[in-house]
């Protein structure tokens, strides 16, 4: 039986993967092919902007719907002829059949963490085992001592993929050295950065790789119990983990006397309750123990005093998904990728103003330019790259002139941002840096647990200043005060959330201070983004009087008769932008600084 793989990652499900699957089943049955093909629902294939995907005989079909499925079954499966129009196109426009090999989005990737994504059915432990799953666990249990495992991981140079980049092997070694008859392994699956979804993809697409990594970690440090702390917003991940844990127990990969050895280890799922700060390891532990999810001072570190006071290793999903691969292939193989200090790969979530939105796994040390242009396909609409934001609300922006910087932990830190969990948001000329900082600050204000003064009050005060500046009400003193406050919040906050919350402010100030000053001095937003500093106006030369904008305007701010020039009343306009979106003649445009009701503005 041949396989047809359908992507059932979160994004593809959202864009109709299941109706594609159902249509496929129906068509196969109608054509009498249901005995010849087996449909495999896989995890995320990566290029989420083009889903749903389907792979037949190595041919990758994208952007599918029910009609497309019918055509493909008719033409490809029955007639043996590839349906060109559903293939993916190279940036130059040429269509390719085997996109995974031919399209640079895929071909430039190195798949270690995501090795099974798009290839196996995440609900099937057999699929995982068929691709070498649980071999590494068997190997460590039967051939290696715990110390050997730790050495292997230490040699690999693997660093924590949750963002801080602490050497994983070293963390395990600390925990292993603790004398305690109870120890824990925790998988941090509380992925919360806006725009980051790599952990989710791994949990949904290859849950066993995480379980295997945890079991190996447990063996290495001598733990008996594991927890996966996963956010409630990931129901599919929870469902697939639950299935996977159950399967692993039944096959003897979890539970008592694993694979007939003396080693026993089991895993439970703990579901978060919607607090971003619970991704911070000490808050996460508090939450697992049923306490209020607020961080505590370190030291003691979790490896010394973790859950209920016992040594606890906390690793991120992506970190754990690397483990089995390293054991199977050896640390030397792992070190072939990446840089000396940051070996291996990293999964990035590409979002923002970029053509190929999605998930990519690339060797560390790759430049932002390669990531954005070669893999990401560049900026849509021929716009200019302005900056790249990495690391979510904890990270900062890197200006366009620094995109030849290699991506590794140290280089990003030197630029004032962080690797973080791997979110990459591409910003173009339409993005305002004050607005970007304000967006992330709004997030941290909302997510601050409230325990320490600088994070609780300081982020709010920073937000207020940014808000003032974005409204044209800021002063030059505000900019200096903002910087002072940002430094103090960074220096004195208790946990990583507060310590990194000022990064969006500090980096935008560092690279785009002029833009702040324009907001203050000229009451103008150069990117025409800040609502209070812009006006929507109609270009008399371009307006055809089609009334589309008048119809869509929610406040009745647009006046004009059919076929006659339309006019926006500034005192009524709420700057929602609907008129601009709906205008087919590009007659609506923005100006900054804003104009008054009776002011006339010349078309640009």
């Amino acid at each position: 039986m041949k396989e047809i793989r359908v992507c059932a990652g979160g994004a593809c499900i959202a864009s109709g993967a299941f109706s594609v699957r159902d249509a496929l089943l129906k068509e196969l049955k109608e054509k009498g092919l249901d005995g010849q093909y087996k449909i495999v629902e896989t995890g995320c294939m990566g290029m989420c902007s083009r889903g749903p995907f389907m792979v037949v005989d190595g041919v990758v079909y994208a952007k599918l719907n029910e009609r497309a499925v019918k055509e493909i079954v008719d033409s490809h499966l029955v007639g043996g002829k590839v349906v060109e129009k559903y293939l993916m196109a190279l940036p130059e426009g040429q269509k390719v059949k085997e996109a995974f090999k031919e399209h640079p989005f895929f071909s430039r990737q190195v798949k270690i963490v995501t090795r099974n994504l798009g290839k196996i059915d995440p609900k099937s432990i057999d699929d995982y085992i068929d691709r070498g799953g649980y071999k590494a666990l068997e190997k460590v249990l039967k051939e290696m001592k715990p110390q050997d495992v730790i050495e292997e991981i230490k040699n690999s140079g693997l660093r924590g993929r949750g963002g801080a980049g602490f050497p994983t092997g070293l963390k395990w070694e600390f925990a292993a050295k603790q004398k305690s008859d109870r120890k824990f392994v925790v998988c941090n699956a509380d992925e919360g950065d806006p725009g980051a979804f790599m952990d989710r993809a791994v949990l949904e697409g290859d849950p066993h790789s995480v379980l295997e990594g945890m079991a190996i970690a447990a063996y290495a440090i001598g733990a008996q119990q594991g927890y996966i702390y996963v956010r409630a917003e990931y129901p599919l991940a929870i469902e697939r983990l639950t299935v996977a844990i159950d399967q692993a127990r039944r096959r003897g990969f979890l539970g008592k006397n694993i694979l007939g050895t003396d080693f026993s280890f089991d895993i439970q799922i703990r579901i978060g309750a919607g607090a971003f700060v619970c991704g911070e390891e000490t808050a996460l532990m508090a939450s697992i123990m049923g306490e209020r999810g607020q961080p505590r001072v370190r030291p003691p570190y979790p490896v010394e005093k973790g859950l209920w006071g016992y040594p606890t290793v906390i690793n991120n999903v992506e970190t754990l998904a690397n483990i089995a691969w390293i054991i199977n292939n050896g640390w030397r193989e792992f070190r072939k990728y990446g840089t000396e200090k940051s070996p291996g790969t990293k999964v990035f979530a590409l979002a923002g103003k970029i053509n190929n939105t999605g998930l990519v796994e690339v060797p560390l040390g790759i430049t932002l330019r390669e990531l954005i242009y070669d893999i990401g396909g560049g900026i849509p609409g021929g716009k200019k790259l302005k900056a790249v934001q990495t690391g979510g609300p904890s990270g900062g922006v890197i200006p366009a002139d620094k995109i030849d910087t290699p991506i590794d932990y140290e280089s990003l830190t030197a630029l004032g941002t962080i690797m973080g969990s791997g979110g990459i948001i591409v910003l173009d000329e339409d993005d305002c840096m004050v607005d970007v900082a304000k967006f992330f600050l709004e997030f941290t204000v909302h997510e601050s647990c409230g325990k320490c003064t600088p994070c609780r009050e300081g982020t709010r005060a920073m937000y207020e200043i940014l808000d003032r500046i974005s409204k044209g009400e800021g002063t030059m003193e505000d900019i200096d005060a903002l910087e002072e406050l940002a430094v103090v919040v960074k220096e004195t906050s208790l946990c990583g959330l507060g310590q990194t919350a000022p990064n969006p402010v500090l980096t935008t100030l560092r690279y785009f201070r002029e833009e702040y000053e324009i907001h203050v001095k000229e009451k103008r937003c150069p990117a025409k983004k800040c609502r209070d500093l812009i006006s929507y106006v109609i270009d008399p030369k371009a307006c055809t009087g089609c009334t589309a904008c008048k119809i869509v305007c929610p406040t009745g701010a647009i006046e004009g008769e059919l076929n006659k020039l339309h006019y926006i009343h500034q005192d009524l306009c709420i700057k929602c932008g609907s008129c601009m979106d709906v205008c087919r003649f590009d007659a609506v445009f923005k100006v900054s600084p804003p104009i008054k009701e009776d002011e006339k503005v010349q078309s640009s």
């Binding site: 204000v445 647990c449 409230g450 009050e457 005060a461």
Partner: protein, 915 residues
């Protein structure tokens, strides 16, 4: 460890935080969320310092010092961080210091002043929350909260109530009680620790509001006048108005009250001191009335009356009641007055009613009648066995520590109590036995231990004698029978026995549920047997530990305010001892032991006159009707007291005494610790300290006593009392000393019986078991068990706590607890008035239907004069200890038709009405 702080090198010999290190060498680091009593959480970030070699700023409260560490506490970077964070806090804090009760005592105000911040640079974001006025004693204005979580932590870690948690997150996160934003609706036990610890004015003591600014008050440290825990208090008072403004726990004595904790009585129960009812002038009875007199007149009158009776009937016709409420010095003088001046050993005090059986039971087994261990080492116990004690209500500060031992340090808890008291709810095993079946229960446990050979053979061999006899006495004990009699399932008895016996360190705590029985001595001896056979002596977290009910019961006993012993438990009937005292006091002394107070009251034909200091036997003693008759029939009755009460209305002369807040002296707490009582206020009106009154009376009875200060009395005590031989006021100034203190160099004795018991051969004595059931059991006519005791908010006969407004708002009325089953059967609803009758009398009281009660048992606290529990209790006595059987009486209960309210005494009503 050598550590450099701001350029100076210091050496420290133990691990500590940077903050502690800096503080100890006088380097100031500001803090807001730090308090030594609770774990540091580094939340306010005010204590940040620079540490050389680290790029970050570190919180001094959570960073431990290391050898070679170089700390900078005062750099520009540090100052900027502190300043900005202070400004941030001020941006949400209302600038209303003018009327704030914390003004002058506010950590935030201090920082604002230090940095000279008039206005925050970071805007104003006031919360505009309603003030939580729901609690009668504690006011919360969360608009002022700086979110330091100290209230949350102290309630959770120290008081162990966990009333507060931070609710919501970010700027909205505020400390709120469970499921409500009103403290008055929560399970709060009103200890006020949150108000004590709050560094700003967000949580304050309601009775203190508007009384005085912080700079108008002075502070005196003293010992709490309520229970035997002996909490050390910082009393803030206004010297101009001569009144107490507020009370905090002293930070100096964490070993007693954790440096922060009080109970509701210790924190708020001081208003009685300035009550308008205080006796301010001596009173002499003229017919039916009392007439004010001068001290000269009253003292002369008192002396003449006593001498008259003495001449007529001899010295043994006079009874002297000393008091566990008074100081050691006063108790010493009082027994000296009886013995050396009047010439009788008829001196006793209320220990007779609480721990007389402890004195007898422990003296015969261990040789020393006191708590073997101390209040702090309970945290080291692996198993805690509490029987007949309700510490979370009656010794609340210690009760909280027991909860901490269980919740934080993982001790297993066994509670034996007829009621499902608070600790029973968190116990591993609750043995809910029938009142009065304690010996049966303890014996059954011993039987299991012997049968299963769980005893400590080495200990028994090396340190005790009489085990064979004990085993013999238990040989025929049938555990099934014991289960039947006690009403406790056999498997629970077995489980408890094993849990206790197999623990490495097991502590027994008990109180009046054990002692106040006609077989109280046996109960106590049985507990000593149990602890000895399992080797639970001489180590931390073990022992037999009676919890003393009154502030100075231990001291009053130590001082020999007992009919058979001189100070230091030296026997009156021992000729050598008596000789020493005769020489020391310079008079011949009566050779025979005197009468116990319970015996005095039963023999009106023998006792014709009484001197009663600070006691209210008409409410506190059993069969009160009978006591009243006795008092009314006395030929002469001298009372020394703060108030008129149910007893001294029969007196012939009342001498107004100063309260514990108005005099100097010492108390000895339940762990044998002698601690200072210090004068805070000038005595109200013409009232005088009891030691002065006794001294003056003595002079008029023909014996000069010359003391100008209680410290001189302690010097005398020290010379004649071996266990107090090393006690001087200088030595006990800060921490006190635990007796025995054998000489001026001796450091005191935290744990008794370490290597030997207090007998000449050093061996503990097992006492064979003789199981006796209570003399009065329920029958057809009186079908209910009545058991009596205390409750959290009130104390003894209510003369103190019922004069505190806020406390009376919480518990204004008397009540009887009854099980829901019994209540339903009798058609009684919560709040109904019932008539309770025993063979001795009847009372009316409000019913409180409570699932704490087992079927067939009712409980009445004895604090309420309008519903006097002791009208019902009997006066059958323990043959050795002469303690009455307060804990078991048979009663019948009827719904009181037509009565809807039992009115409290007038003075309580007045307290409640006062604005």
């Amino acid at each position: 460890m050598r550590v450099t702080i701001d350029g100076k090198e210091y050496t420290f010999d133990r691990p500590m935080t940077v903050l502690e290190a800096a503080k100890s060498v006088g380097v100031y680091i500001p803090t807001l969320c730090y308090h030594p009593a609770v774990e540091s959480i580094g939340a306010c970030r005010m204590c940040v310092v620079e540490i050389e070699g680290s790029p970050k700023l570190h919180t001094a409260c959570t960073t431990m010092i290391r050898d070679g560490m170089v700390i900078k506490t005062n750099t520009e970077r540090v100052q900027r961080a502190r300043r900005v964070n202070t400004e941030l806090l001020l941006s949400v804090h209302p600038n209303d210091c003018m009327t704030c009760d914390a003004n002058g005592h506010c950590a935030l105000q201090d920082l604002a002043y230090k940095f000279q911040i008039k206005e925050s640079r970071w805007g104003t974001r006031l919360r505009n929350l309603p003030i939580d006025d729901s609690h009668p004693l504690i006011l919360r204005d969360l608009n002022k909260c700086i979110q330091c979580q100290l209230c949350v932590r102290v309630c959770d870690e120290i008081q162990q109530m966990s009333i507060y948690s931070m609710v919501n997150r970010g700027a909205e996160s505020l400390p709120q009680p469970d499921m409500t934003d009103k403290l008055g609706e929560s399970d709060c036990v009103s200890c006020g620790a949150c108000a004590t610890i709050c560094p700003v004015g967000a949580i304050v003591e309601k009775p203190s509001i508007g009384k005085a600014r912080w700079w108008e008050v002075k502070k005196v440290k003293t010992t709490c006048p309520y229970c035997g825990v002996g909490c050390q208090l910082d009393v803030y008072y206004d010297p101009h108005k001569n009144e107490i403004v507020r009370i905090y726990a002293s930070e100096e004595n964490p070993e007693i009250n954790d440096g922060v904790l009080t109970c509701v009585k210790g924190k708020f129960g001081y208003e009685f001191v300035t009550s308008p009812d205080r006796l301010k002038k001596p009173l002499i009875r003229k017919g039916d009335k009392f007439v004010e007199a001068t001290w000269e007149e009253a003292l002369d009158y008192a002396a003449e009356g006593i001498l008259r009776v003495k001449e007529k009937y001899g010295p043994d016709a006079i009874g002297v009641l000393s008091s566990a409420k008074c100081t050691n010095e006063e108790n010493y003088l009082m027994q000296k007055l009886a013995r050396a001046v009047i010439g009788t050993n008829n001196v006793d005090h209320c220990a007779r009613l609480c721990h007389a059986s402890t004195v007898t039971g422990l003296a015969m087994t261990l040789g020393s009648a006191a708590m073997s261990n101390n209040l702090s080492d309970i945290l080291k116990a692996n198993v805690i066995f509490i029987i007949g004690a309700n510490p979370t209500e009656n010794h609340p500060v210690y009760g909280a520590r027991i909860k901490r031992a269980v919740r934080k340090y993982g001790a297993k808890l066994i509670v034996a109590d007829p009621r499902k008291i608070e600790l029973a709810k968190m116990a591993d095993i609750h043995l809910q036995h029938r009142p009065g079946t304690d010996t049966a229960l303890i014996s059954a446990m011993m039987k299991v231990i012997i049968d299963e050979k769980l005893y400590d053979e080495d200990f028994i061999k090396q340190r005790t004698k009489g085990f064979e006899e004990l085993a013999q006495s238990l040989k025929d004990l049938d555990i099934d029978w014991a289960a039947e009699v006690t009403g406790v399932p056999k498997d629970l008895i077995v489980k408890a026995a094993r849990m206790y016996a197999t623990a490495e360190r097991a502590a027994i705590l008990y109180a009046m549920g054990i002692t106040q029985h006609a077989n109280g001595t046996m109960n106590v001896a049985a507990l000593a047997d149990l602890a000895m056979m399992t080797g639970n002596f001489g180590k931390e977290g073990t022992g037999v530990n009676p919890l003393r009910g009154q502030n100075n019961v231990q001291g009053a006993c130590d001082m020999g305010a007992l009919p058979n012993v001189f100070p230091g438990y030296q026997k009156v009937e021992d000729e050598n001892v008596r000789k020493r005292f005769e020489e020391f006091w310079g008079v011949p002394l009566p050779p025979k032991a005197g009468m116990a107070l319970t015996d005095m009251f039963m023999h009106p034909e023998k006792i014709k006159a009484m001197i009663i200091m600070a006691e209210n036997p008409a409410v506190s003693d059993p069969n009160s009707k009978h006591v009243e008759e006795f008092l009314a029939g006395l030929e002469f009755y001298v009372s020394m007291d703060l108030f008129m009460n149910e007893s001294n209305r029969f007196a012939h002369v009342i001498l107004p005494a100063a309260s514990a807040f108005e005099k100097d002296g010492t108390f000895t707490n339940t762990e044998r610790r002698i601690v200072r009582v210090r004068k805070v206020l000038e005595p109200m009106g013409d009232s005088k300290p009891d030691w002065w009154i006794i001294k003056e009376l003595s002079k008029r009875l023909g014996y000069e006593m010359e003391y100008s200060h209680p410290s001189e009395i302690m010097e005398e005590i020290r010379k004649i009392t071996p266990i107090y031989a090393g006690v001087t006021y200088e030595r006990i100034e800060k921490k006190g000393l635990q007796w025995p203190v054998k000489d001026l160099e001796h450091p005191g004795t935290p744990i008794l019986h370490k290597d030997r018991f207090n007998f000449p051969d050093g061996k503990g004595r097992f006492i064979p078991i003789d199981i006796k059931l209570p003399p009065e059991l329920p029958d057809e006519e009186y079908p209910f068990y009545l058991t009596t005791g205390r409750m959290l908010y009130h104390f003894h006969t209510g003369t103190m706590t019922r004069r505190v407004k806020g406390i009376n708002k919480i518990v204004p009325k008397s009540y009887m607890e009854i099980s829901p089953e019994d209540a339903e059967k009798l058609g009684i609803r919560d709040g109904d008035v019932v008539k309770v009758t025993s063979r001795r009398g009847s009372i009316y009281i409000h019913a409180r239907v409570s699932d704490r009660m087992q079927k067939g048992v009712v409980f009445i606290p004895f604090h309420f004069a309008e519903s006097r529990a002791n009208i019902l209790t009997g006066d059958i006595l323990d043959p050795k200890a002469r303690i009455p059987s307060f804990k078991v009486a048979a009663v019948k209960i009827e719904k009181a038709e037509g009565v809807t309210e039992v009115q409290p005494p007038e003075y309580v009503k007045k307290v409640l009405q006062d604005q």
